[in-house]
């Protein structure tokens, strides 16, 4: 067990940010922490790192209790914050060297690790640049390099791809998977479902400071009622057609708007053939047809609800 969180409670006045939160992180996994705004993801990370006081609970990392002065534990942790946390007055190389130096006192070893980190995030051409001269994506990469240069066994990434262009995002995600392949255990928080779906081996969904779902992608998708979503491009659907479609067995929801007919079926139901038969019989012309299995986004929305969060 790399991380063990038991009954963690954190209050801000009357607001309960973490409500008896419990979960474990196993060695070698990439754990995704998902949740709407204010669900307690960042608070949980800060409590795990002993940055924040908490009211109740127990946190153990590498089997030992985590405290602010647990330097032997901290030595093997790398953190990539939600916001870029580097020194504007130091160059790319100097920033990575400074933060790496807080973990690795030996100069020669540190030099090698800094070079590896620069290679890893692809900042070779920018090593003498000051952070203010870097684009958002490059800054994020620098932020990551500062957090992982010392080769930690456990890496916590708190929304590292916010405001990053698709190319940089892809680069970052591939990098995280590479770190995992090299042996690091990863805890990854994000709003982006497709990212979590792409890289995480296990996912925990938090809401209002509680774990409301915990499992692999497949396990989470099995938790919801939605089985299949069929989308048809057509412009000739009339109300009586919709009524007929709703009578197809297993078709839980049939909607038509903006030239798109959407038929949602319950779990273990495959209605693609039935829908196509109906269109042919009724001689309704159609364009493209999509059949999709539920995504993590569907899971997230079904579990956490669709009401807007701050």
């Amino acid at each position: 067990m790399i991380i063990s969180v038991k009954n963690l409670v954190k209050r801000y006045g009357n607001l309960v940010a973490l409500d008896h939160l419990s979960f474990d992180v196993e060695e070698g996994e990439i754990l995704g922490l998902l949740g709407p705004n204010g669900s307690g993801k960042t608070t949980a990370i800060n409590c795990i790192l002993s940055l924040l006081k908490y009211d109740k609970g127990e946190i153990r990392i590498f089997g030992r209790p985590m405290r602010p002065d647990a330097y032997d534990i901290k030595r093997d942790i790398g953190v990539i914050m939600q916001n870029v946390a580097v020194f504007d007055e130091l160059t790319v190389y100097e920033n990575i060297n400074y933060f790496c130096g807080l973990y690795i006192p030996e100069k020669e070893k540190r030099k090698r690790l800094v070079e590896e980190a620069i290679d890893f995030v692809g900042l070779n051409d920018f090593r003498k640049f000051y952070p203010k001269k870097l684009s958002g994506g490059l800054l994020r990469r620098l932020n990551i390099a500062c957090g992982i240069a010392h080769k930690p066994k456990l890496i916590l990434l708190d929304e590292p791809t916010v405001a990053v262009d698709p190319q940089s995002r892809n680069n970052i995600l591939e990098g995280i998977q590479r770190l995992n392949r090299e042996g690091a255990t990863i805890v990854y928080t994000s709003h982006y479902m497709e990212e979590v779906e792409q890289i995480c081996s296990r996912i925990i969904i938090l809401d209002k400071g509680k774990v409301i779902a915990n499992g692999t992608k497949e396990e989470l998708k099995n938790m919801i009622s939605l089985g299949e979503k069929i989308t048809v491009e057509t412009s000739a659907i009339r109300p009586e057609h919709l009524a007929a479609l709703r009578r197809i067995p297993g078709a839980d929801s049939v909607e038509y708007a903006n030239g798109l007919l959407v038929v949602k079926s319950g779990k273990s139901k495959n209605n693609l053939e039935n829908v196509l038969d109906f269109l042919k019989k009724q001689q309704i012309g159609y364009g493209r047809i999509y059949s999709e299995l539920p995504t993590l986004n569907d899971v997230f929305l079904e579990i956490t609800g669709k009401e807007l969060r701050d």
């Binding site: 940055l51 007055e89 130091l90 100097e94 933060f99």
Partner: protein
């Protein structure tokens, strides 16, 4: 580890142009402005000999006493008149051209010819009045007591002072120095910017970088002290640059105790640094608020020390002396002045002792706040 943090902090701090401006260039600019304005005041207060003429005719030649008296005040370093002996016609022309303030004619009576009444003309008149009074007194004494002639000359030519001025030290009193000394003290307190930055870069609830530093396996106190050592090195180096600029570029006199002046600047740098750190740890508001409090607090203390209005220092000393002892800028200003003016060290040591107490207070307060290792919120 100490060296790693120290060198990187040095780089960070030295590349912060805004901080360098406030802590080094701003005091130097103020010193230049002070020097320009104080030099103008000094020039306006310097006594210039009054240009005057005397008609060199038979009457003047005949009155040896007046001639001697006039020549005695028109010669030497401290002369009152810049005297021209000339003809009446030329004297009139010089007066008309404004080249002299007035001219004298010596006959039965001594007459002053001027074309306006001003400060210079009053000096000429005062001299003539004084001469006439003295010569009249001498004539009266000689009439009454002819044997007194021998001691009369010395008795009339000199004036007896019944008060004796005793200097507190070897240096000449120079009130204008107080402006510069309070400026140096202000610059010391501006070292608080460095202390402020150190605390902001170590407190996880004050900056993101600090949060990252807090996650490293390094004792917080070690990180803090390494950073403070770098800050002190820069703050003290800046003070040395400022002192060198004042001494060699502006010719400011620090008196003979250069070593102690440098030591006092070092103490001032420590006071400034610890003050900034204490302020930063105490005030939870953002950086701009902290900077605002530091600048306004330091400027107010400098004002009370006489940086903007010299007499303020004496007003405080007279009406609220405790305030003077509670004001680190005033204690530093006074320390510099003590070193310049006094031969004894009692007052200087009292100031240094009080400054030491301030450092202890600020350091203890800062430690008390930053030693907390977890935060209620970030």
């Amino acid at each position: 580890m100490f060296f790693h943090i120290f060198t990187n902090r040095l780089k960070c701090l030295l590349r912060d142009r805004m901080m360098i401006f406030w802590t080094l260039l701003f005091p130097i600019l103020l010193a230049v402005f002070f020097n320009m304005s104080l030099r103008n005041i000094a020039n306006s207060e310097t006594f210039r000999p009054v240009p005057a003429a005397v008609v060199n005719d038979a009457g003047y030649q005949k009155n040896a006493g007046f001639r001697s008296a006039l020549k005695s005040v028109s010669e030497g370093k401290d002369k009152i008149f810049s005297l021209t002996e000339t003809t009446r016609k030329n004297a009139e022309k010089l007066l008309e051209d404004g080249k002299i303030a007035g001219y004298l004619t010596v006959g039965d009576k001594i007459k002053i010819v001027v074309n306006r009444s001003d400060f210079d003309q009053s000096i000429i008149k005062s001299f003539v009045d004084s001469y006439l009074q003295t010569s009249s007194a001498a004539e009266s004494i000689l009439k009454a007591n002819p044997p007194a002639r021998s001691g009369l000359s010395a008795g009339l030519s000199g004036e007896t002072d019944y008060l004796k001025a005793v200097s507190g030290g070897s240096a000449d009193p120079d009130p204008s120095l107080n402006y510069f000394y309070s400026l140096i003290a202000m610059a010391c307190l501006y070292g608080g910017f460095w202390g402020m930055k150190e605390v902001m870069d170590i407190q996880a609830n004050q900056s993101r970088r600090a949060a990252r530093v807090n996650l490293a396996p390094v004792r917080k106190l070690k990180t803090f002290l390494s950073g403070m050592a770098a800050s002190l090195a820069i703050a003290f180096a800046e003070m040395l640059v400022l002192l060198a600029f004042l001494r060699f570029a502006l010719n400011l006199d620090f008196g003979p105790k250069a070593g102690l002046v440098i030591f006092t600047s070092f103490v001032g740098s420590v006071v400034g640094l610890s003050f900034g750190a204490f302020l930063s740890s105490l005030v939870k508001a953002g950086e701009n608020m902290k900077v605002g409090i530091l600048i306004s607090g330091t400027m107010f203390c400098s004002f009370l020390s006489g940086m903007m209005y010299q007499d303020m220092k004496y007003i405080v000393e007279k009406n609220a002396p405790v305030l003077g002892y509670l004001n680190p800028v005033n204690l530093l200003t006074d320390s510099f002045y003590c070193l310049y003016y006094y031969d004894t060290y009692g007052r200087y040591l009292l100031n240094i002792g009080l400054l030491g107490a301030f450092v202890l207070l600020f350091c203890a307060g800062t430690y008390f706040v930053i030693r907390r290792e977890k935060y209620a919120s970030l």
